[in-house]
Symmetry: C2
Amino acid sequence: MPKETFIKLKKEKKKQITDAFLREFAVKTYDESSISMVVKQLGIAKGSVYQYFNDKLDLFMYLVNESVAVKSKYTESVTREDYPDFWAFFSALYEHGFRFDDENPLHSHFLHNLTQNLNSPSIKHLYNELLSQVVTGFEKMVEYEVEKGLFRSDIPVKTQGFFLYKLGISIQEQLEVSGVINPRESIEKKQPVYFGKKNDLMQVVADYIKLAKPAFDKN
Amino acid sequence: MPKETFIKLKKEKKKQITDAFLREFAVKTYDESSISMVVKQLGIAKGSVYQYFNDKLDLFMYLVNESVAVKSKYTESVTREDYPDFWAFFSALYEHGFRFDDENPLHSHFLHNLTQNLNSPSIKHLYNELLSQVVTGFEKMVEYEVEKGLFRSDIPVKTQGFFLYKLGISIQEQLEVSGVINPRESIEKKQPVYFGKKNDLMQVVADYIKLAKPAFDKN
DNA sequence: GATAAATGTGACCATGTAGTCATATTTATT
DNA sequence: AATAAATATGACTACATGGTCACATTTATC
């Protein structure tokens, strides 16, 4: 948690500092990211950062929580009940995710880099926690579908949940590998991750759904 | 490539050095892995390492090539034609992979860590190359199946290939997340990655195949 | 056994970082 | 205006690493 001093900061400055660090952590690994560099860019003293946060990890956690909170505002309105099947729901999550990306490029870049780049040794613990949360979330969804008789019941929920999680990761990763998106470039141009690529994104989502549907659906 | 000096080394010493570095790189990230530490363990001078290899990356590449070569000896005998369908072939790859693991614990641990832990910033380039090779391999397999009319033709080969690759990763990762295997512990006990866990491994493989089969198979 | 070639060595350099702290500066309170 | 409280500062510490190189030691050659 940030210290009092940071919370009491003027909105302007708080945003400047947050953005600068988001930018750094969005492009590099946790370990690679350098506080020394960012303060140089910001034109503030390194000591100030330690007036705001206990240490590097504290600062990082703040960025994670902030970003997750902002994204949640976009996705929490999406509920399974409003969609005819899981896949329409799944697709809708990406639609809303796209809006989040468009309106909060920095937070989006940060989260994108986090999910693709999780295993910095120093934050392995944090990674495992986040992973476990996300995977558990997917398992809950699978459970729901199985109970409703919509997903297969002959495969362990854990297997289905984990694979579903991997499906989400794969979509992002494939877009990157195939060159459709280039986060490194787009962040420099101050553009969102999926800038002008909504169709490509939704197409890949559709492809993966078409592929995965028969694996999960009963019959 | 290792220097002449390393190649001319006595088998014994060569193995000692290789093993020590495999052990280090099997437990840590590329960046985390410390040459200084390993030479201390080996009781040799740091300068010697630079008599054997050009630099850290050269040393690492040697370990990668070595390990891949050793593993290939186990898997190259497995050919698609010898199996009734892709999934039997896929499963057989794991069977032979298990033997590789059992007979070459260190190389196996190294490769296992490599695939789960690829994104050290300094080797991003190497990672992308390896990834691209592996993914292309899977795409070839998919193409073969599509041509034979065994895999669906309504999904881009790239999507299927990439997802198949992710399937392989998922199997390993899930075994680790669920605690069935614990590479960190087993390497310390000088045990292979899947020591005594052949049944669990093949069960998860079977689960994933059962799950994924309908996604890929034509009807 | 003497000379030459090949190896081994470890102190040392350059580099980079997270985090500290005494001090200076700014802001709030009386 | 004077005092007190809150912030900002940046030189400095402690640490760790990859890589170098002049020199010592071992091995091969004559």
